[in-house]
Amino acid sequence: MKPKHQRLVLALLALGAILGASALAMSALKDQAAFFYAPGDVRGKPLPLDRHVRLGGMVEKGSLVRAADGVSIRFVVTDGAAKVPVAFRGVTPDLFKEGAGVVAEGQFQSDGSFVADNILAKHDERYMPPQAAGNMHETKTLEQ
């Protein structure tokens, strides 16, 4: 191979690698980017049923119900504008409590409720929904 050709081959390979990486990333992004919603964002709008999303807001005081098995819970997420009931099975993070901010990862159901497979609790008590992706710990769930 002539040096010139080789340089061309390498340059093309490098270009292919970059394009490949971008294509890979973009195709995975289409499926896997979790968009962020507050309860007010989905009220009266079609629900994003087909994708994994994050739901952020406050755990409404008095809404937390623990099931008999000791590991399933139900609670209501509110942002002042609307409410979404959430179901979750797993260990909640230490900072998860009524009246505190929460971010739940999971899927909306056709009845308007939300099934979480992940609960992220926020450090900050003075929680404001817009910065909902703030400091948090993750807790993983059974399905993963």
Partner: protein, 640 residues
């Protein structure tokens, strides 16, 4: 007085860094004209002094923390007089200002190291390298002085400090940041070498040989840092996971990927004088990734468990520095790359060809991780809130990583310059056979999903292939760096086997049970014997006593805790982990329901320890290679 002395040392170091840039200019000019010996001597001394001054400033900061000097703001915010000594010391870098001071201290010390040890480089290139190193340091000194001075005093001094985040109170984590920083900033030397070589038009094997030990050293520290960090997250956070694709984890992974690529391309440049422009480019990219990583973690722009700083001016400052250094280096690269002569060429089926493939695949993984880490930021700027989690990376980076494992198996079996497909196939028979059998066993009998099964098969194949270079060699006369390569590649195989085994065969149980009841997880039956309160030196906790038994083994006693720290008020989960020869039993206690039942999360994780054992082997391989290379260089020097 100590705080003022520390600040003075910082300013003096800044002055010396400025002097270093000017002297480097003079020495580089002198080198072209054949003079400049004297200037170079002065330059070396100034670089060493600058390193010593930065070390002094950092030492004084540690002294302030050890003394619990509550008139210093940083100590008040991050320490407490009742803390154990080790955490007082670690508190010095367990915060934004202190960690930036550590950063620049490592940077200056690395420059001093180059000035001390580098004997064989052409004068001009060495001078330009030291100048570039000082130029980077100046920016970060300015950042400390103007945007995050660690020595600021408070008045009046409070009686005691606020303590250190309990999550960070862990002996492993105390030394995690310094290890990572040694790796991050060690790459600055490679960057400076690249800039120096570009300035002096001196890109070639000599430059590659000079750069190689620094890249190796940095890469070893990054490997240790990432491995230790992963284990820390595993046992401290109590989520049972060992890698979360968290932005901060990615921030350390990206420089490692770039450094791994650089390590391999430097070898091509040093051995065969090929890949000249590419190696220079990678050296720039590797340190850029370190700086971007620092920016991501320290600007508070990305949210994560470990980010401390939330200050837009600081973020802006680091971003400006990033722009100047990365932009400047890339501009220099663009301007000078035309003058870098074409290196030696090679056949595609050859050791060089395999190394090019390694670099391409690593670059793809790097690109994917980079996009996945930064895309949420870009989206946020456009007003869309989204997050990218593990599934994205598992879909995009992991398959490429597995292709890289296959390439890693082939590379060392190929000859330099040119080789034949047939000989490669002949050598690959054993690894492919073993890998195929492993895959079939795991997939058919173990009932694993095909991706982990494939990963296990590849790991088995790589394990066999990685030791083949030692077959039919005189083991006593084999150079040390060959052993290094073998051990590091074996480490990759071991680590991937651990990851695949964990993801294929782990079992998880989540239950709420009362004292006296039991649950099963994997092969174990776990009984809850007791739940009791315990008190530590700065925490109190609820502790469970679990007895885990399986047939044929002694029963195990485990004591997971849910800890409460008073200052600052936080809860942490202390998992109890039993390590056995065939895996780990991982237990976490959750909340009580007030009616005598306690949540337990239990995992049985077969062979999960291989992940970190592999990481240790990779680092050990790097160390063997480093010792071998340095000894060779020394011998070459004495022969001259």
């Amino acid at each position: 007085m100590i705080a003022e002395a520390g600040l003075a040392a910082l300013w003096l170091a800044t002055g010396f860094a400025l002097m270093q840039v000017m002297l480097a200019w003079g020495a580089a000019k002198g080198a072209v004209q054949g003079t400049g010996e004297v200037v170079l001597k002065a330059l070396r001394r100034v670089a060493i002094l600058q390193g010593l001054l930065a070390l002094t400033a950092f030492g004084l900061l540690i002294a302030l923390f050890v003394q619990s000097d509550m008139s210093v703001k940083l100590v008040v915010e991050n320490s407490h007089s009742m803390k154990p000594l080790i955490y007082k010391i670690a508190g010095a870098w367990g915060n934004h200002e202190g960690s930036m001071l550590l950063w620049v201290t490592v940077l200056a010390s690395a420059g001093a190291g180059v000035a001390l040890f580098e004997k064989r480089l052409p004068q001009g290139t060495l001078a330009a390298t030291l100048g570039a190193q000082a130029a980077i340091a100046i920016g970060f000194y300015a950042f400390l002085a103007f945007a995050s001075n660690p020595f600021v005093r408070v008045s009046p001094a409070p009686l005691d400090g606020r303590g250190l985040n309990p999550l960070l109170q862990d002996p492993g984590l105390a030394f995690h940041p310094p290890t990572l920083y040694l790796g991050y900033v060690g790459l600055s030397v490679a960057f400076s070498f690249a800039v120096g070589a570009l300035l002096m038009r001196d890109v070639g094997p000599a430059f590659a040989r000079a750069m190689r030990p620094w890249v190796l050293g940095a890469w070893i520290f990054l490997t240790i840092g990432i491995t230790a960090g992963s284990y820390w997250a595993y046992y401290e956070l109590g989520w049972g996971g060992w890698w979360f694709w968290d932005p901060v984890e990615n921030a350390s992974l990206m420089p490692w990927l770039a450094a791994t690529a650089l390590l391999h391309s430097v070898t091509v440049l040093a051995t065969r004088d090929g890949l000249r422009a590419w190696t220079v480019m990678l050296a720039v990219v590797a340190f850029s990734m370190s700086m971007i990583g620092t920016f991501l973690v320290r600007s508070g722009i990305l949210v994560s468990v470990h980010a401390f700083a939330v200050d837009p001016t600081r973020g802006g400052f680091i971003l400006a520095l990033l722009g100047i250094y990365i932009g400047g280096a890339l501009a220099l690269f663009g301007a000078r790359i035309g003058t870098v002569k074409q290196g030696a060429t090679f056949e595609l089926v050859s050791r060089e060809g395999a190394l090019v493939l390694n670099n391409l695949l690593l670059t793809v993984i790097l690109g994917v991780v980079f996009i996945g880490t930064l895309y949420p930021l870009v989206a946020q700027a456009a007003g869309v809130q989204l997050s990218i989690g593990a599934p994205f990376f598992e879909k995009s980076a992991v398959p490429v990583g597995l292709a890289l494992v296959a390439a890693t198996a082939c590379g060392p079996l190929l000859k330099w310059r040119r080789d034949q497909w047939n000989t490669l196939f002949g050598k690959l028979l054993a690894p492919v056979g073993v890998g195929g059998i492993a895959f079939a066993l795991v997939f058919a009998l173990g009932g694993a999903r095909w991706m982990p099964a494939l990963a296990l098969g590849l790991a088995a194949g790589l394990a066999v292939a990685s030791v083949l270079p030692l077959v039919r060699r005189n083991l006593r006369r084999t150079p040390l760096h060959i052993y290094g390569m073998v051990v590091a590649h074996l480490g990759i195989a071991v680590s991937i086997a651990g990851m695949a085994a964990d993801s294929a065969f782990k079992t998880e149980r989540l239950a709420a049970i009362s004292v006296g009841q039991n649950v099963t997880v994997g092969p174990y039956r776990v009984e809850l014997l007791e739940v009791r309160p315990v008190v530590g030196d700065n925490w109190s906790a609820v502790e469970a006593h679990l007895k885990a038994s399986r047939t044929g083994d002694e029963p195990l006693d485990l004591f997971p805790q849910q800890r409460f720290f008073a200052n600052p008020p936080t809860n942490t989960n202390e998992a109890a982990i039993a390590t056995l020869f065939d895996g780990q039993l991982y237990t976490v206690i959750g909340q009580g329901d007030g009616q005598g039942r306690w949540q337990l999360r239990l995992w049985w994780k077969p062979f999960v320890t291989l992940i970190w054992l592999g990481g240790a082997l990779i680092a050990l391989g790097g160390l063997l290679a480093l010792v071998g290379r340095v000894r060779r260089e020394r011998r070459a020097e004495t022969e001259e």
